[in-house]
Amino acid sequence: MNNSKLSKQMFALPYAILAVVFVIIPLVIMMFTAFVDGNGSFTFDNFLNFGNADVWKVLGRSFIMAFLTTVICLVLAYPTAMILANSRLNKSATIVMLFVLPMWINSLLRIYAVKLIFEDMLGRGFGLVLLGMVYDFFPFMLMPLYTILANMDHSYIEAAEDLGASPLKNFLTVILPLSVPGIISGVLMVFMPTVSTFAVSDILGNPDTYMFGNLINYNMEKGYYNLGSAYSIVMLALIGITTLIANRITAVRGGKK
C-alpha cells in the first residue's frame, strides 16, 4: 500500500524537476538580474528609476487604462451574462458559443480587425487603444460571469421574491453578492493583463499611449536586461498583491456563507 502510494507520487517527479529548472530558477535569475548592474555587482539602482517621473507617468497611465478597460468590460459583460443565463438562450449552446468564440481567436488577429475598421475613424491614440483592449478582453470578463450566473442556485432568488423583494432589491442583495467570485475572476483576467500588454499599444497607439508593458518590452529589446528585470519584478509583485487581495475577498465571502 505504502509502496504503491510512493510509486504513484513518482509520476509527478518529471514535472517537479522541470518546474524547478524552467519556472523557479528562471524567476530567481530574473530577481538576481534586477539587483545587479551591467558589471554584475549588487545594486538597487535599477529600482531607483522609479524616482523618475516618466516611469510613474507610464505606470499611472497603465492603471488608468486598465481601470477603464475593466470597468467597461464589466458594465457590458454583466448584463450580457445575466440575460444569457436567465433567458431561454441559456439552453441553446450555439448562442452561448457565439459570445465566447472570440476567446479562441488569436488576439493579434482581433486587434488587427479593430485596427482595420477604427483606425481611420478614431486615429491612433488613447481612445483606439482603449477600444482594442475592451475588444480583446471582453470575452475573458464574460466567461466567468456567465459561468457563475448560469450555475447560481435559483432557490435563493425565488425565496427573496416570495418574501416580497423588488427586482432591484433582489439583484442588489442576492444576485450581485452571490456573483462576486465571478466578478473577481473576471477582473483578475482583465486588469493586470491590460497593464502588462504591449502589443495593443504598439499596434493601435502612439507614444502617448506607452504602457508599463511597453516599458518592459523596450528595455529588453534594447538589451537593458537589468532594468527590464527590475520592472518585471515590480510587475510580478503587483500581480502577487492583486491575486492575494482577490483571494482574500473570495475567502471572506465564502466564510460568511
Partner: protein, 268 residues
C-alpha cells in the same frame, strides 16, 4: 405582461448590440478579403486575388506551419507530462500537494511578459540550448502543463481509487498500471487539456517573441511585426483563413461534445 414583453425586447436588443460589436470587425475583415482594395471603405470588385497572393507567400505559409507544429508538439509534451504529474500530485500528502499546486499556478497567474523574460534570461545564461525551436518548445510546454494538470486533477477525484492498487496487486508495474488502467479513464480530460494547450500555444505572442530567433516566426509574431509598420491587404485573406479553421474546430468540438452528452443522457 406588457412590461415583460418590453423587458425581453430590451434584453435581446442589448445582446444583439454586443454581438454586432463582437463580429462587425471580423465580418469586415472577411468581406474585404475578397477584394484587393488597399483600404477599407473602397470596394474595388470581387476577386480571389488576395487568396492567390496568400498561397504563394512563402513567409506566411511557413509562419502558419511553424505555429501548428509548435502548438501540436508543445501541447503533446504538456499533455503527457501534465497527466503523469496530475496522477502523482493527486496521491500526495497535504503539504507536498499544496507545494506542487502552488508551483503549478505560477505561470498561470504570472503576466506573459514576465514569464517570457524569465525564460529568455535563463536561456541566455544556459547557453547550450540555442534560441529557436528548442527554446520555443520548452517554454510553450512549460506554459501549457499547468492547464493540463488543472484539466486532469478534477477527473481523478471521480475515479475509483482502488483500481490502481488492484492493478498493482495483480502484479502489474506502475507504468503498466498507468497505461492500461489510468490513462484510458483519463482520456477525455487529457484531450480537453491538449486542446486548451493548442489554443494557448497558437494564441501566444509574447513568449514566442522573446524566446525565438529570426528564423522561426509564428503567425502571432508575423502579425505583430507587420501590424506595427502598416497593413498589407494579403493579411485579410490570411486572417479569414485562420478564422474559418478556428471556428470549424471550435464548432466541431462543441457539436461532438453535445452528441456525446446527448448519448449519455439517452442511455441514462
Amino acid at each position: 405582461m406588457k412590461i415583460k414583453a418590453w423587458k425581453k425586447v430590451i434584453s435581446y436588443s442589448f445582446l444583439a448590440l454586443i454581438l454586432i460589436f463582437t463580429y462587425l470587425p471580423i465580418a469586415v475583415l472577411v468581406v474585404y478579403s475578397f477584394t484587393d482594395a488597399r483600404s477599407i471603405g473602397v470596394w474595388t470588385g470581387f476577386t480571389f486575388e488576395l487568396y492567390a497572393e496568400l498561397f504563394s507567400d512563402q513567409e506566411i505559409l511557413s509562419a502558419i506551419l511553424n505555429s501548428v507544429i509548435l502548438a501540436v508538439t508543445s501541447a503533446g509534451c504538456a499533455t503527457i507530462i501534465g497527466t503523469f504529474a496530475a496522477v502523482g500530485i493527486y496521491s500526495m500528502k497535504r503539504i507536498p500537494r499544496k507545494l506542487m499546486e502552488g508551483t503549478n499556478q505560477i505561470t498561470m497567474l504570472n503576466a506573459d511578459i514576465v514569464t517570457a523574460i524569465a525564460f529568455m534570461l535563463f536561456f541566455l545564461i544556459v547557453q547550450f540550448i540555442p534560441f529557436g525551436w528548442a527554446t520555443l518548445i520548452i517554454s510553450h510546454t512549460m506554459v501549457c502543463i499547468p492547464y493540463v494538470v488543472m484539466s486532469v486533477l478534477p477527473r481523478l477525484s471521480q475515479l475509483n481509487p482502488n483500481l490502481y492498487e488492484a492493478g498493482q496487486d495483480l502484479g502489474a508495474s506502475p507504468m503498466r498500471v498507468m497505461f492500461t488502467v489510468m490513462l484510458p479513464q483519463l482520456i477525455t480530460a487529457m484531450l480537453a487539456g491538449f486542446m486548451l494547450s493548442v489554443t494557448i500555444s497558437l494564441d501566444d505572442f509574447v513568449i514566442t517573441k522573446f524566446n525565438s530567433n529570426s528564423e522561426v516566426v509564428t503567425i502571432s509574431v508575423y502579425l505583430y511585426n507587420k501590424l506595427k509598420k502598416g497593413v498589407k491587404p494579403v493579411l485579410r485573406a490570411m486572417s479569414t483563413l485562420i478564422l474559418v479553421v478556428v471556428t470549424a474546430v471550435v464548432v466541431g468540438i462543441n457539436v461532438g461534445q453535445k452528441r456525446r452528452s446527448d448519448k449519455v443522457r439517452k442511455n441514462v
